[in-house]
């Protein structure tokens, strides 16, 4: 981010960086930066809070009028409480999943969850007017079936989108599956928090169990793209560390 600011400014494009990691801003000193106290993934503060988002933008654009010498670094002070944790009591999964059948295949349990969540996913899509799922090019049923095949002796060897490498399709399918759950989960009543949603996905759903199983199962996969995504981009470090301890 700071490098882009240097490159663009050298080409006579004025820039303002929103800084999420103050130590990186201090080390790479882009010309103008507004450090914000928000979590990674939320540079403008909080979803569905236009007043806060606008106050960040106003503070960022104001740096363009600062007559001081560059680098100019300011801090955005927010009195809003913006932890990812939120209030755990305010949210719960909008559906009760079918009870686990002993010995039931993982893919069948994911299928049951997806069926249960589908009305809430559709409700969320309608209320937001969009969905962030679908980068893999697979519909949701094809997504979890295709991913599950990596756990079998008939693991996929070609990408469903022929123009994309197998490893990238694998990563996109995993993100699509997760996004489906998170969009459905946040469409229900109650105010959802990032921590509650992510904790629910990784610790309480068969889909989370599937991705964790793939991480382990594919750590030595022959395809370097699949192997690398399985090892490093499938399960958050925080969740992987939690499971190790």
């Amino acid at each position: 981010m700071s490098g882009l600011a240097h490159f663009l400014e050298a080409e006579a494009i004025a820039t303002v960086v929103i800084g999420l990691i103050p130590q990186h801003i201090a080390a790479m000193h882009p010309p103008r930066a507004l450090n914000v106290p928000f979590a990674l993934g939320r540079p403008l503060g909080a979803p569905d809070d236009p007043a806060l988002q606008l106050s960040v933008l106003r503070a960022a654009m104001a740096l363009l009028d600062d007559p001081g010498s560059v680098p100019i670094v300011a801090a955005f002070e927010s009195s809003d409480v913006l932890p990812l944790a939120g209030n755990a009591d305010e949210w719960s999964c909008p559906v009760s999943f079918p009870a686990r059948s002993l010995g039931s295949p993982l893919v069948d349990r994911v299928a049951a969850e997806v069926r249960a969540l589908m009305p809430w996913f559709e409700r969320g899509r309608q209320s937001r007017g969009r969905t962030a799922t679908g980068a893999s090019g697979l519909d949701i049923e094809a997504t979890y079936y295709w991913l599950s095949e990596f756990l079998t002796e008939h693991a996929p060897t070609v990408s469903p989108r022929s123009a994309l490498p197998l490893g990238l399709s694998f990563k996109l399918a995993a993100e699509d599956l997760k996004a489906f759950y998170l969009e459905a989960g946040s469409a229900g009543p109650g105010r959802s928090s990032a921590e509650a949603l992510n904790g629910w996905f990784w610790r309480e759903t068969a889909a989370g169990e599937l991705l964790i199983a793939l991480r382990t199962h594919l750590a030595d996969h022959a395809d370097p793209g699949v192997r690398t995504h399985a090892r490093f981009t499938l399960v958050p470090e925080s969740e992987a560390n939690r499971r190790r301890t």
């Binding site: 981010m1 490098g3 882009l4 600011a5 490159f7 663009l8 400014e9 006579a12 494009i13 004025a14 820039t15 303002v16 929103i18 999420l20 990691i21 103050p22 130590q23 990186h24 080390a27 790479m28 000193h29 010309p31 106290p37 928000f38 979590a39 990674l40 993934g41 540079p43 403008l44 503060g45 236009p50 988002q53 960040v56 933008l57 106003r58 960022a60 654009m61 363009l64 560059v70 969009r130 962030a132 679908g134 980068a135 994309l164 490498p165 490893g167 990563k171 993100e175 997760k178 996004a179 998170l182 959802s192 990032a194 949603l197 992510n198 793209g225 690398t228 981009t233 499938l234 925080s238």
Partner: protein, 147 residues
């Protein structure tokens, strides 16, 4: 993030030395045409997703109805905010509001996205090309938004 909350893994990432910063003139407020440049790995549905090491960018047409998707490779940041409200990562509506308030001149039609996990020095050729695109579109200010 607050400085004290930044995890060790991020503090240990190499930070290249880009030298003393240049200072471009943003011009008077009424003539500032602003584009967003994101490093969230954003793309519009139908475009090509980002993968490891991607050093190119995607164009985001503000006049298109195509959904905005996130194909950043990292899984170590929150995505629930983006899933609920794209403005938390890509504040196009917010910039339009600033334009109506007269705090900027206008909002560009075309915006851009890189994938921020790539070595920042590798982005230079694409960034220089991007600057020419921006100039050709009359854009003279960029809001750089990380993820």
């Amino acid at each position: 993030m607050r400085a004290e909350d930044v995890p060790e893994t991020l503090l240990n990432l190499p930070c290249p030395d880009f030298g003393a910063p240049s200072r471009a003139d943003p011009g008077p407020v009424s003539e500032r045409r602003v584009a967003i440049v994101s490093t969230a790995g954003l793309m519009q549905r139908g475009d090509t997703p980002f993968d490891f090491g991607a050093a190119d960018y995607r164009i985001i047409d503000a006049e298109s109805d195509a959904d905005l998707l996130m194909t950043h490779v990292s899984t170590n940041f929150d995505r629930t905010g983006f899933l609920q409200d794209t403005e938390v990562v890509f504040p196009l509506g917010g910039l339009r509001q600033l334009a109506t308030e007269g705090l900027i001149g206008s909002v560009a039609r075309f915006h851009y996205a890189f994938m921020g996990a790539t070595d920042p020095t590798a982005l230079e050729p694409a960034a220089r090309q991007l600057a020419r695109n921006l100039q050709g579109e009359g854009t003279n200010v960029v809001l750089l938004v990380p993820v």
